[in-house]
């Protein structure tokens, strides 16, 4: 029986949930293989040090220790993959899994120890004697570019990795003629992604066949397989990478890590399975960090606040080495420093800088939260300057609504947009006039707890693709298409094999919803397979909010191909022309004779037996599709935050938050809301709490979960969400992405609210994060200025 119920657009409960809820889900660290050994990594305690010698003798003599190696024991086929050579002049010192002559950040791997148990491996790692000669180090971007700064890579003669620039229009003229120029300087503090599952790797070698299976907590099994071939020389045909259940990523598992290459090489040397699981404090040093920029943001405007031009200079901290997409991470936001506003000229210059710190790479939003916080804070600064309300300044500068792809001053061609609509809806949901009244009452009563209202009317670009654009002007080395195979089993059950690798996004449900609707079968009859390079051989994996926007069209197209083939079989069996068939909800029926019909499961059975197929038609009902989008997709929306700031203690608390997002048509509203809320809270955490702090010697001070301020449930609010739908013109389903909108939109809404709360005290800006200390300092400085 075909199912006529539509699943797309419904809050279908997640098919993947039961195994997580019952503890049967298997993450990498839950797996064991007979004969397995444990690996531990010896890491540099210094931010910068010459390695004068490594003595493994004591470690090797410990009971239970099987082997120990340092850099000179390995011969690599190539360095770890850096896939984004963003400029011609890019400095990209090769990064090998273990440091040989110099350790360049605290946590840089120097040696590995392999033992019968994790405890023994860790004990033995402590017994490895490394003779270090500490060298001068540098942690911040501005210090690193200063004359005479210690060099992270001596032979480069500079700490500059690259400078990338893009210009649209005559910026100098626009700024020279502007009635008003606003110039702001922002520091986007370093973040530690903190996926709840620490990274883990298990490698099982087969020394007879030369096959290697690696389970790893990664977002990118497909990219990783190629990268491991480049690093180790093991051919891709002999490498199977499996991302089993992965406990969150947020970009931190969009990486090719030293431990992955080391696990493979050590397994190859010893012919035994090797496991490594990072301790959380180890991960704080060894798993990449995010953000860390210094920004100079300028707006040129008319006297009434109408923006004419944008001029941006970014110093982006790369850490000690360029990791997989590090140089490109700031470029992902480089076209968005104009937000969703109009203008005549735009210039941006990004300089990537090496420092003696943990490498920096993608963290949920990657480049776009940085851009959004700059433009959304700067437009508030402009509003203050010209004496306008933040709502008014936005309304007058919005690009008007459009439904066909339209160029932006930032250099993008935007799929569709209706920026005023999301703002108006958000104002309604927050009850703007009422909140302003409450704020006024507190101001008049000189309440020590002041209210502030902050806006972020963001625009972002995501749905990573299309291949020819990202590989062309953007110089990214990889592709941006997605792949899917739909396989109809003879009894009517369906498997969807996909190239993205969900780790919390709910694709096992959303992809199944799309397939079920097209084939007219129950959603539970569709199984989604992924995350194993032998099961799902093609795909570009999960990051950049691409699963919905790039992955779904691939699933949809493969499903339509199945229907096209099934139509031929149906026409043959019913003895009519294909054109005489109508297809609805999984059933082909003869026009005018609906009792003559075949369902997809019936046709799948026919295709399986092959007893009576049209001449020349291959048996089987299984089709694949590769989808390469024509453009990125461009979600947008309006977020409004109300904070209560204790002007005596500096404590800021979000008391109300509205997020109205336009992510195109929604496949599963419950899952989309979950993505929005989770992202907004992560962004609130970035705005108010979290900061990775290095001291002057390059030592990470916020070095564990007890000193890095991830908020608990008591420290964050509930979010009110709303939707607006403008279909994307990039794909036939109109779908945009939603995975990163929250972290992109929310930090400036919070920061603008804090400044608004404190504006009666003369505060005009706040350092990130708006921690009690930074709020208190801002109040003190403002008072000092007034005195």
């Amino acid at each position: 029986m075909a199912v006529t119920q539509k699943f797309v657009g419904q809050p279908v409960l997640r098919k993947e949930d039961p195994e997580f809820l019952t503890g049967t889900a298997k993450y990498t660290d839950d797996l064991t293989v007979p004969g397995m050994l444990w690996m531990a990594v010896v890491r540099s305690p210094y931010a910068h040090a010459r390695i004068k010698g490594v003595d493994l003798t004591k470690a090797l003599g410990m009971p239970g220790v099987v082997a120990a190696y340092w850099a000179q024991d390995f011969e690599w086929a190539g360095p770890l993959l850096m896939a984004w050579p963003a400029t011609e002049d890019l400095n990209n010192p090769p990064h090998y899994p273990l440091a040989k002559e110099e350790a360049r950040y605290q946590g840089d791997g120097v040696a590995v120890v392999v033992a019968e148990s994790r405890g023994i491996a860790e004990d033995a790692a402590e017994a490895v004697a490394v003779d270090y000669e500490p060298l001068p180090s540098v942690a911040g971007v501005e210090a690193a570019l200063a004359e005479g700064a210690p060099l992270v890579h001596d032979d480069l003669g500079t700490n500059r990795s690259y400078t990338w620039a893009n210009t649209n229009g005559d910026v100098d003229k626009v700024f020279a003629e502007a009635a008003v120029v606003v110039k702001e300087r922002y520091r986007v503090q370093r973040q530690i992604p903190n996926a709840m599952e620490p990274r883990s790797i298990l490698v099982d070698p087969n020394s007879a066949s030369g096959q290697f299976t690696m389970w790893t907590s990664t977002q990118i099994p497909h990219v990783l397989r190629t990268a491991m071939t480049l690093a180790t020389g093991i051919p891709e045909s002999k490498l199977r990478i499996i991302a089993p259940r992965v406990g969150g990523g947020f970009g931190s598992k969009l990486q090719v890590y030293p431990e992955e290459a080391l696990g493979l090489e050590v397994a190859r040397k010893l012919g035994r399975p090797i496991k490594w699981t990072e301790a959380r404090t180890e991960g704080y040093l060894a798993t990449h960090h995010g953000r860390d920029q210094v920004q100079e943001m300028e707006l040129a405007a008319d006297a009434d606040g109408k923006i004419r031009g944008y001029r941006v200079r970014i110093l982006a901290n790369m850490g000690a080495y360029l990791r997989i997409i590090a140089p490109g991470t700031p470029i992902l936001g480089a076209f968005l420093y104009c937000g969703c506003y109009q203008g005549e000229a735009y210039h941006i210059e990004i300089t990537g800088v090496f420092t003696n710190t943990t490498p920096v790479d993608a963290y949920r939003g990657a480049g776009r939260p940085e851009a959004t916080q700059a433009i959304e804070r700067a437009i508030d600064a402009l509003a203050r300057r010209v004496g306008k309300d933040p709502v008014e300044i936005r309304r007058m500068n919005f690009v008007p609504p459009f439904t066909e792809a339209t160029p932006s001053i930032g250099g993008l061609t935007i799929d569709s947009g209706d920026y005023p609509a999301t703002l108006e809806k958000a104002l309604e949901l927050i009850d703007y006039d009422q909140v302003r009244k409450e704020q006024q009452a507190r101001r008049e009563s000189k309440d020590p707890k002041q209210l502030g209202i902050g806006f972020s009317t963001y625009l972002e670009n995501c749905g990573w693709g299309p291949s020819k654009v990202i590989g062309g002007v953007l110089k990214y080395a990889g592709g941006g298409w997605e792949a899917a195979t739909i396989r109809c089993h003879p009894t009517g059950k369906v498997v969807a094999v996909v190239g993205t690798t969900p780790h919390g996004q709910g694709n096992e449900t959303t992809f199944a919803q799309v397939v079920a609707d097209e084939l007219g079968i129950p959603v539970d009859d569709v199984e989604v397979l992924f995350g194993d390079t032998d099961v799902a051989p093609s795909g570009w994996d999960t990051y950049g909010s691409r699963s919905a926007a790039v992955g779904t069209p691939a699933v949809y197209r493969a499903t339509r191909k199945v229907i096209d083939k099934a139509r031929k079989i149906a026409a043959h069996e019913l003895e009519v022309a294909e054109d005489d068939l109508e297809y609805e909800a999984g059933t082909f029926s003869v026009k005018g004779a609906p009792e003559s019909a075949r369902t997809i499961p019936q046709l799948a059975f026919s295709a399986w037996t092959g007893h009576n197929l049209p001449e020349g038609l291959e048996p089987g009902l299984e089709e694949s599709a590769f989808f390469d989008p024509s453009n990125l997709v461009f979600p947008f929306g309006a977020h409004i935050c109300v904070v209560e700031v204790d002007t005596e203690t500096g404590d800021a608390e979000v008391v109300k938050y509205v997020a109205v997002d336009d992510v195109g048509p929604i496949v599963n509203p419950q899952i989309v809301e979950g993505q929005v809320v989770g992202g907004v809270i992560q962004g609130i955490a970035e705005a108010l709490y979290e900061e990775a702090v290095y001291d002057d010697n390059g030592q990470l001070l916020s070095s564990s979960m007890s000193s890095y301020a991830i908020p608990a449930a008591t420290e964050v609010p509930s979010i009110i969400t709303g939707n607006h739908v403008t279909p994307s013109t990039t794909n036939e389903l109109g779908i945009k992405g939603v995975g990163e909108t929250g972290t992109i939109a929310s930090p400036p809404a919070v920061l603008n609210a804090v400044v608004d709360a404190l504006s009666p005290l003369g505060v005009t800006e706040i350092d990130r994060p708006a921690s009690p200390e930074n709020v208190w300092r801002a109040i003190r400085d403002a008072k000092g200025g007034a005195a």
């Binding site: 409960l13 997640r14 993947e16 949930d17 039961p18 195994e19 997580f20 809820l21 019952t22 503890g23 049967t24 889900a25 298997k26 993450y27 660290d29 839950d30 009971p63 239970g64 148990s117 405890g119 023994i120 903190n194 996926a195 709840m196 599952e197 620490p198 259940r245 992965v246 406990g247 969150g248 947020f250 301790a279 959380r280 404090t281 780790h503 919390g504 996004q505 709910g506 419950q670 899952i671 809301e673 979950g674 809320v677 989770g678 992202g679 907004v680 809270i681 992560q682 564990s704 979960m705 007890s706 991830i710 608990a712 449930a713 008591t714 964050v716 509930s718 979010i719």
Partner: protein
């Protein structure tokens, strides 16, 4: 009854006998073995996750004699002679516990890694306070971190489960 031997060859061992999810389990382990590794590695109960090494995240929360503890802060030896409940024991007769069911219905999980700890912490708290307010639920979760959900649907799930559980008693 299952007896397993773990630990370093020739090193000191301690004998631990624990009732886990109603089943008596015992083994000789290194004295330094934490309860969480005893559950995961000695008994193969990998539903209890490890998210940190500073007792900050609560992913490893289990019930010890009915009360929630972070199993990374307890030695296996300290659980000797006591009862441990883990996520694997929450469903009974193929029926999910009301908390598991509520997390499912309210989308209280995304990557799922913190989920067993959240459910065990909530199971303990709801025994203490069967009819909590939202604020009380949030306070009860202070020792459990989640990076995906922003807590909103976790809180909603627990409030929902509390209602279901009190309704079931009537």
């Amino acid at each position: 009854m299952i007896a397993l031997t773990a630990g370093r060859k020739g090193g000191p061992v301690t004998h631990v006998s624990v009732t886990v999810n109603g089943v008596s389990r015992e083994a000789d382990v290194e004295p330094r073995t934490l309860l969480v590794y005893f559950l995961r590695e000695t008994l193969g109960l990998t539903g209890t996750n490890v998210g940190c090494d500073t007792s900050s995240c609560g992913s490893c929360t289990v019930l010890l004699d009915g009360v929630s503890v972070k199993s990374c802060t307890v030695l296996a030896a300290q659980a000797d002679g006591r009862e441990v409940a883990t996520i694997e024991g929450m469903a009974s007769d193929g029926q999910m516990h009301p908390l598991q069911d509520a997390f499912h219905r309210n989308h209280g999980l995304q990557c799922g890694y913190c989920t067993p700890g959240m459910i065990m912490a909530a199971a303990s708290y709801l025994k203490e306070n069967p009819d909590p307010t939202e604020e009380q639920v949030r306070e009860s979760l202070e020792g459990n971190l989640c990076r995906c959900t922003g807590y909103q649907n976790i809180v909603k799930s627990i409030l929902d489960a509390a209602q279901q559980m009190s309704g079931a008693k009537v």
